[in-house]
Amino acid sequence: MQTRIRRRHIMAAGAAAGGALMLPGKAPAAGGTKPLQGVTLNVSCWSAPYPLMLTKYIPEFEEQTGARVVYTTPSFPIYNQRMDIALATRSDAYDVINVTFIYIGRWVGAGWVVPLDPYFSNPKLTPAGWDASDFLPGTTTVFKNAKGELCAIPWIADIMMSAASRYDIMQKAGFGLPDTFAQMQKMLGAVNGKDGLPGFITENHYGWTFIGFLQGFGGNIFRNPPHDLMPVLDTPQAVEAADFFCNMLRSYGPKGVLSYTYDEVVAQLKQGSMIYTTENEDFVAQMAQPSSKVQKTCAFAMFPAGPAGRFPQIATHGWGIPIGSRKKDAAWQFIAWSMSKDLLLRMFRDDGWSSITRRSIIEMPEFRQKLTLNGYDVAKMYLDTIDLGAKGYMNYRIVPPYPQVDRQIDIAIGNITSGQKTAKAAMAEAQQNSISQLRRAGVKI
């Protein structure tokens, strides 16, 4: 009895192994079984434009491989909360997940997503010519763990940009897109209220939108990440940056500016209800779409520079495989398919997906052309920003307890903008709380 069962098990295992031996994308071999027949993959990512765009291609993957994909795209905070808990408990509920940029330090650092290097040169699971080195170094370094292994494939390097929704108003007032913070202040002072519109808006995730200003004024979050994690949120430069940023929000932002989340910002920009913003390229690029009311009046430029330089923020998200997944090989095939040159090229051509992380596509003249939004060479801005990012000022993101500091910054900016605390007091409080949070999380400072 037992030998019979064992034999049946071996046969079943053999069939499964045989299935995995099939190269992805090829026609099924003799017998007609597809490589991932009967496999259900749980894939999840937050509701950014790219994952939503990917939805319509998934049936192709299912057709090719025979797998069934359960694809979920919750909102940003819900996705992160769910994933954090799922990963922390080594759950097998997900097979392919998005490694969110503010959680990179925690998820990659704690080993909750597996290294992907072994898959790159595995001919059984990765099609020839897939070329893992094609991804921009600026986008892959953050996903490397302490041993230098790559733990996620970046699907976006979203850059912070300067963009106008109503460039016509700015021009009428005699201004172009600001290149420095000082110009930005002058311009906003002149255009705010024209046509009854607020001058400036950005989303209330200040742990993300404020940092470009913080670093532009010469401040930083940690003294020298990722080694020296002593927060430096109360330096004079940090206070000056906070003062400036909150002044922009308070004086030139709409009523209730502190309540604007990323999608509300995008919706308002596309309606032409705000004049100017510093926001993700992924969001502001939507202004140039046919569905936008401001298709003809939008304008784009690199994030402005401060006295200490230009520090446009880069948000990298990537596809990873949780350590608890029981279908890692199948999960990799999904990642390999979604990040293949062919699919990315199609998404670029047919859907206008432009935050591409593959150098081979970016360097095509066609890319440059298409990423010309309303006449602006956004491709160049994109490449320039990625190059700037290689300098490493985004290292603060890969610190495991960053979410705690992220919230302290949200709170501080909220306090200053609403007048509850002065910039000095609020940043000092953020500093104190960050230190105690980091210590509680086990960081030695």
Partner: protein, 292 residues
């Protein structure tokens, strides 16, 4: 004084002149009716606005005008994204938890009402204390237990955790209903040879049926409306309607028409239920706290 005039005196102010008084009462009564209706309308305005918004075309959704061409587009858009499934999960979880709470709780309430256990007061206090704990107190232990037992993201898991608030409520409210049923009827049945639970089913339950209905509805409503437990303990397989709305809010990119439509769809079952059992519900709420 005759009973008729006592009644009249009790009903109105004691005075020899009846007709002008009646007219004054008539107007007073209708003034109060009008005031009640007006206040009700004011109180329900926000809900009405939400319903209006759900029918607005998206281009005009921010408009404040009352004239617009209604459209069903927002409702049609609810078809995808797991929203219909979440509705079914909510239905299953709420019904299951109601049935389970009643099955377990009603006999216990009867026992507490009829038999003087030594620990009656302590039990009542314990029940109150379980309602005091914030949901967080339960979510982590349940989270870990569910992960270990494989109940994560299942409707059964939700049914189980809804017992934490429904069971106590069933016991408490049904006990007060049973207290109001005179013992004499059951005692008569006992004398006739019926067992305790036989008498319960044949005599007491029918008399307490309105209370049972009210309590059942309350259980259903409380389960349907739960947000926190579903948020933390479900993902996709068992996502309920309230969580689906929040998901939907950012999926739809602040398209208020769609969000309003989703909100209306989630509140409808509760409103329908409430309408059909309104008198029972009111009686049930009142019995929950009023003692003679």
């Amino acid at each position: 004084m005759s009973t008729a005039s006592t009644a009249a005196a009790a009903h109105s102010q004691a005075t020899p002149q009846v007709r002008p008084r009646h007219r004054k009462i008539y107007w007073r009564r209708h003034a109060i009716h009008a005031a009640g209706a007006a206040l009700l309308f004011l109180a329900l305005l926000p809900v009405l606005w939400l319903v209006l918004m759900s029918f607005r075309p998206n281009a005009d959704v921010l408009g404040a005008g009352l004239l617009f061409v209604p459209t069903l587009d927002n409702y049609r858009a609810l078809g995808g994204g797991g929203f219909p499934d979440s509705f079914i999960h909510s239905l299953l979880a709420s019904t299951g938890s109601t049935v389970l709470s009643l099955v377990i709780g009603v006999p216990a309430a009867y026992a507490l009402a009829r038999y003087r256990f030594r620990a009656n007061k302590q039990i009542a206090m314990w029940i109150l204390v379980t309602r005091m704990a914030p949901p967080i107190a339960f979510t982590i232990p349940f989270f870990l237990a569910f992960t270990w037992l494989g109940l994560m993201d299942t409707v059964s898991g939700l049914i189980l955790i809804y017992l934490t608030f429904n069971l106590a409520m069933v016991v408490w409210t049904m006990k007060s209903f049973f207290d109001a049923v005179p013992r004499s009827l059951e005692e008569a049945a006992w004398i006739d040879g019926a067992g305790v639970w036989q008498a319960f089913v044949r005599v007491t339950l029918p008399l307490a049926a309105p209370g049972l209905a009210a309590t059942g509805i309350l259980c259903f409503i409380l389960s349907w409306n739960d947000f926190f437990f579903a948020l933390i303990l479900t993902r996709t397989d068992a996502m309920t309607a309230p969580v689906a709305i929040v998901n939907f809010m950012q999926y739809a990119g602040w398209e208020w028409g769609k969000i309003a439509a989703a909100g209306v769809v989630v509140l409808l079952p509760v409103l329908v239920f409430t309408f059909f059992v309104r008198s029972y519900l009111v009686r049930g709420l009142m019995a929950g706290g009023v003692k003679e």
